[in-house]
């Protein structure tokens, strides 16, 4: 394919690098070799992309667009998987994983910032909507993190209460898991009339932004979805204290508050943070749907793209969402592991 697009001389190094990368990476057994292979392969792929796009555009009209086809995406996925597998096999510590993540983000930023890929249609789409992109990014992050914060503020005390009172737990957890079952589109849709009604009837509600359309219904829907993981994991985390340790804490004269702060909470923190990880990753994904009800975020691009059958617009929304979700997942995993780092064997 690439032969026709650019001169063989320009393509050769890239092609060789991809083949070398696959050759190094595919044989099982040596994690480091696999990692090197994946990096070399990705570099080759990038080279091909850089060479191919201008060559194709050469002489084409002003509105011509280039985007990589299925072959590129397949190679990309294979090489990324090789890299992920190599990193997983090497069993890096949390700090090292953080460093790898930063390196990858840095490399990505340099690559995108340097303009070597500016000829790609996704990047052109980005260039055309730079301001909108930034404001949707901010909106997307606001939806995901804001709902996470709200859910934590509501859910954590609720979880502590549920941990203490068994009847409350029996009443609240089924309601929350019922909320999780409601399909996201339906949930977002149902928030619209609900908040519209609140906005119309409660005085002052509209002044603080509560209305049937836009940010508020999306935000509320996300908060409702987040409550189960937060409350459920708080209950599970606080309940994970070994019974003997709890009995000892009581026996030595700790007040309920001291037991919570000194024993139950530190021991349950990894599980509670895991709940927040689930919420964050889930909400970054679900926030896309906000685009459908005028709530903003990357969903705006995705659904515009779907409406106009504009693949690049879809990618402009979907790729950053995936990247955000992956980054959030990795960062939260590192945090969970850091809080778990006390003894090797916690029994």
């Amino acid at each position: 394919m690439a032969w026709n697009l650019a001169s063989p001389l320009a393509v050769l190094p890239g092609l060789a690098a991809v083949l070398l990368g696959l050759g190094l990476g595919l044989p099982a057994g040596f994690a480091r070799l696999r990692l090197v292979g994946a990096v070399v392969g990705l570099a080759g792929l990038l080279w091909l992309l850089m060479q191919g796009a201008p060559a194709l555009l050469d002489g084409a009209g002003e509105y011509a667009r280039v985007s990589p086809a299925v072959g590129f995406w397949c190679l990309l996925v294979v090489l990324m998987l090789l890299m992920a597998d190599a990193l997983a096999t090497m069993a890096l510590g949390p700090m090292q994983r953080g460093a790898v993540l930063l390196t990858v983000i840095g490399a990505l930023a340099i690559m995108l910032g340097s303009g070597v890929l500016a000829d790609l249609s996704v990047m052109q789409e980005y260039a055309a909507r730079r301001d909108a992109f930034v404001s949707e990014l901010v909106r997307h992050l606001g939806l995901a993190f804001g709902s996470l914060a709200a859910a934590a503020v509501i859910g954590f005390p609720l979880g502590v209460l549920c941990h203490r009172r068994e009847q409350l737990r029996g009443a609240i957890l089924p309601v929350l898991s019922f909320l999780q079952t409601i399909p996201s589109l339906a949930m977002f849709g149902l928030m619209i009339p609900l908040l519209g009604w609140v906005g119309d009837t409660v005085p002052g509600a509209q002044a603080i932004g509560i209305a049937g359309i836009g940010f508020a219904p999306a935000f509320l829907a996300l908060v409702l979805y987040s409550l189960l993981p937060v409350v459920g994991n708080t209950v599970a985390g606080l309940g994970a204290t070994p019974p003997a340790a709890l009995e000892a804490a009581r026996g030595m004269g700790m007040t309920p508050a001291q037991r919570l702060l000194r024993v139950e909470l530190p021991l349950g923190l990894p599980i509670i943070l895991t709940g927040l990880r689930i919420v964050l990753v889930q909400n970054i994904g679900l926030a896309v749907i906000a685009g459908l009800i005028g709530g903003g975020g990357f969903g705006t691009f995705v659904f515009q793209g779907l409406n106009q059958t504009a693949t690049d617009l879809i990618l402009l929304g979907a790729l950053p969402t995936v990247a955000l979700a992956l980054t959030a997942g990795i960062v939260m995993d590192i945090l969970v592991e850091l809080t778990r780092r006390t003894p090797k064997d916690t029994r």
Partner: protein, 244 residues
Amino acid sequence: MKIGMILRPALIALLLALVVRPDWFVPVFAPLAPEGGPVIYQRASLLSLSLSHLGLVLMASLAATFVAVTLAIFVTRPAGAAFRPLSRTITNIGQTFPPVAVLALAVPALGFGAGPTLVALFLYGLLPIFENAITALSTLPPATMEAARGIGLSRWQRLVRVELPLALPVTLTGIRLSVVIALGTATIGSTVAARTLGEVIIAGLLTNNTAFVLQGGLIVGLFAVLIYDAMVLLERHLARRMGG
């Protein structure tokens, strides 16, 4: 339990009525519809949309279950053990992918319609089933496994008679999660022109017709809750039979 005995048949009846005889609910939804506008979604019958919606979910879930369980069996055998770390990595990363993004990314490759929806439902459905099946197959009681070998069952017999039945409840939990996600994701499928109940909700959103949003949401929500509930009951029944 008691609430369930009354609530369950009531919800089923409500769902059936909504799907088969939506015109009965005109008085309920009328105040929510824009003046003079249609109260009940007309462009397609709610029944056919429901069937198409459930059909998509069923197909995707069956395929996902088959593939995920086969893969899980493979990587828990000695021959496939080498692939286990890789499969775990893929599962972990895969679950971080937002369902909507999977759906959106399938469109460029597969075009509009049921195709991308089916693929997205299938791919996203694989993960919870695979993960639960692996957990179930690798945490079987060692004493039971030892006994199965001790009485002279072959590998194949152990798999079919001991491992799979014992792994069933936990695997079913994965299937349940997967089905519920699929029901929700299928709704979004109508943004890529798949025929699902999401069509009703989106039509409502586009025309500011709250009645549409509500009836679509209510039907999908009821399906999700009832299917979830039925599968929980099934899991409990199986777990009880195995003395769990």
